[in-house]
Symmetry: C2
């Protein structure tokens, strides 16, 4: 693409369609278009969301209960104080702890094929293998039904769950939702079938050699089997190898461990409302991450969205009618205790938690907002669409929320979610590739700006 002369004309034509906000939204008291323009200019000039994320990711991964997670709590608390937020405080939550340990090994051993190393990682919450490792034959299945159909053939084997994420889902979260039961419940189903371990294809699209971790669960009714994820490349190699040598052995060794729970914290700070300070518009994200990578997209980006949105709102010098509160929740990935304890806390008494908006889908280009709470709420938010459209927010649809704010929803808080584009999300999700370099400063900032604008509108107009 070249030729800037013709381009100028081309863009002028485009801009007519891009900027209906000023014309349409004089219906409100406040000059919202001027305000959103100011917020947008400041955001895109200073790109401060990326600075926040840089500081946060420099700490390394923030696994719940870990020293680095504690460092992240303190860093974000200080950041909130430095930005001049009010009522900055920590709210305690007791979180489980789990550590990966030093050893993660997998080898395929086959007479005709030789020995091939495979990239694996223990799943979060898994017990380790015995110290000498596990060596067993492998049963590959595409579903729990297939596993059940194997009957006695599964007994004594490592159960290899190899159903890929469906590449034809344009919303990659949908593909995730269709495949994730293998990771979460694979160990339970494998135990029921008499297997000795669960090995799960990494939840990512495409072929790469990075294993993706994530939470897995046990059932009190069956044995707790060691459970690991294998890279998609490794899964393809193993699957092909099984076709030519169904009797090959797989050697697995992990050294992960559960530790006693510790107290950690949700980090809270706000801009107090001028007229109804007890009515809360909550902007939320989670501060913990998995222990691979840097938790840059999941959910460092959400934390950056929240902090930067509050910074942008403070910079307007307009105190909103209702309180806009940022909450960085602890322990989304592991036990969800932060979100539950926040909702249950005595501090919530006397508060009216009107809306909670979560960002936990990465720092990619924001394209929409999901809004729960029924038709009237949806229609009200959709009326503000012209103010968000210039940022690239192209839809406001039913169905928003997030894990951390879910418990608030149970007592009537309207839940919303920022929705960035999802094409690249599962490349980084829960693996070593979730690093700062995978986040684009402008895409991240646009998410923060959109969050700031919707947060302000909610604080001014209510719901």
């Amino acid at each position: 693409m070249n030729r800037p002369h013709r381009l100028v004309l081309f863009f002028l034509l485009f801009q007519v369609a891009l900027l209906p906000a000023r014309a349409l939204v004089r219906i409100f008291d406040t000059d919202y278009p001027a305000l959103t323009e100011k917020i947008t200019r400041k955001g895109l000039t200073e790109n401060y969301a990326f600075s926040i994320l840089s500081k946060l990711t420099r700490l390394g991964p923030r696994l719940t209960g870990s020293p680095r997670a504690a460092a992240a709590v303190e860093l974000m608390r200080q950041e909130m104080i430095e930005l001049g937020l009010e009522n900055v405080h920590l709210e305690p939550t007791v979180v489980g702890r789990w550590v990966r340990g030093e050893v993660e090994e997998a080898r395929l051993v086959s007479s005709p094929l030789g020995t091939i190393s495979l990239s694996i990682c223990a799943l979060g919450g898994s017990v380790p293998t015995p110290e000498e490792g596990i060596s067993a034959k492998v049963a590959e299945v595409g579903s729990f039904e297939e596993l059940k159909a194997l009957g006695e053939k599964a007994r004594g084997k490592i159960i290899f769950f190899n159903r890929p994420m469906d590449p034809t889902c344009i919303d990659t979260f949908q593909a995730y939702g269709k495949a994730a039961e293998q990771r979460v419940l694979g160990a339970v189903e494998a135990a029921k079938a008499g297997g000795v371990a669960a090995l799960v294809r990494s939840l990512t699209l495409g072929e790469s050699d990075f294993p993706h971790t994530g939470l897995m669960k046990y059932s009190p009714e069956v044995a707790r089997l060691p459970s690991a994820a294998i890279s998609t490349q490794g899964a393809n190699i193993l699957s092909r190898s099984l076709k030519s040598d169904p009797d090959l052995f797989l050697y697995l060794k992990t050294s992960c461990a559960a530790l006693p729970p510790v107290t950690s914290y949700n980090v809270v700070g706000e801009i107090k409302g001028a007229e109804a300070p007890d009515e809360i518009i909550l902007l939320g994200a989670h501060l913990d991450s998995w222990d691979l990578g840097e938790g840059a997209h999941d959910d460092g980006a959400g934390c950056a969205h929240v902090i930067e949105a509050l910074r942008l709102l403070k910079s307007t010098d307009i105190r909103p009618k209702r309180t806009v509160r940022g909450v960085l929740f602890m322990d989304e990935e592991f036990g969800g205790t932060g979100g539950r304890d926040y909702a249950r806390s005595d501090r919530r008494r006397g508060e009216r938690n009107l809306v909670a908006l979560e960002s936990d889908r990465g720092g990619f280009l924001p394209v929409g907002f999901g809004v729960s709470g029924g038709d009237a709420v949806l229609e009200k938010v959709q009326r503000w669409h012209p103010l968000l459209q210039p940022l690239g927010i192209l839809w406001i649809r039913p169905g928003g929320g997030g894990v951390d704010i879910g418990p608030l929803g149970e007592s009537g808080t309207v839940l919303m979610g920022l929705v960035p584009d999802s094409q690249r999300y599962f490349d980084a999700h829960h693996c070593s590739q979730d690093v700062l370099a995978a986040v684009h400063p402008r895409e991240l900032e646009l998410g923060a700006i959109a969050t700031a604008i919707l947060g302000f509108l909610l604080a001014e107009e209510g719901i």
Copy 2:
């Protein structure tokens, strides 16, 4: 983001909003929703657009007139034949040639500050510096008006055009349009002011140390000055240094050269129309690139969109009513001769070139289509929006086109353009970072699928 259980419900809710196509578009003869679904599934399962781009970028950069550009012509011709396209042929176009040469150097020399190397690259079409280089004082300006206001103070100096791209433009092409005159006409304005060379801030957002090249022009009325781009990091260093030492010297050396023109080719292949083969729906992109990087986004991605769109259409086994033709134009970056010669060719006689749709804005997530040709055309295309919406195509707006298809527009062809998201585009544009690794397979494929679907609709329904 974790908790797949709640996610499943969440996505089901989303999908209701995402898939209105099947319900809405039974108004046509063909079962378009079934067709678009088939194309989409095939595209996202096979990701062939990325395979095409891999082959193309493996050749290296494809500067017009270069041996590698000739290799790219042959590669794409063979690809079209292998895919079973009809009427595969080359159409000649005589293109200018320019080579960068081995030497590109810049050093800031200052008594108080010392000597600092700066990253530069010659601009496309520039004459070289004298063999011994140029050493001169520097006049920094933000605009041509500022340069004029300097009067005699500019004489004998290297004119340093340092107006940044405006970060507050959400459409980064708009920011490009506002800054690009410095690169294109900087040498002319510098010569008018009595300068000895033009040094232009790279046209990219943010700070990096990669210089971005691109076309520059001379005027027959003034001297032809050597003209180079400096990385934005280098520009910031130079600008800061000038503030503390306005009398610093800058040493510049380049060794670029113009060579005699050669004959190159546009590459053409098509799916012949069943009912009106002489009515052409053209899908276009340009095959040449700048000589830095691999021309992956600019415009290898467009070529991949075109070829993959044709492959997907062929796979449906429905021969469209009108001809769908792919044209990979040569020489967009340098002289634009490919587009002009294509429009003027005798081969166009007897053809009705109804529509030309260009992809030349990179391989990022497709978000819209620009459509020229007036209200009736726009409304017709907008009626097809429900078929494109599931792919993430969120708008169809007035104002589409592209450099290569522009000359066809002059004789009445309706012009359209695929518009991907622009946030990352100028990170890679015309510099060493425009490589395959900067392209995401699914984002690229979605552009190809959208192009295939719109191409097919145009071929079936006309305009």
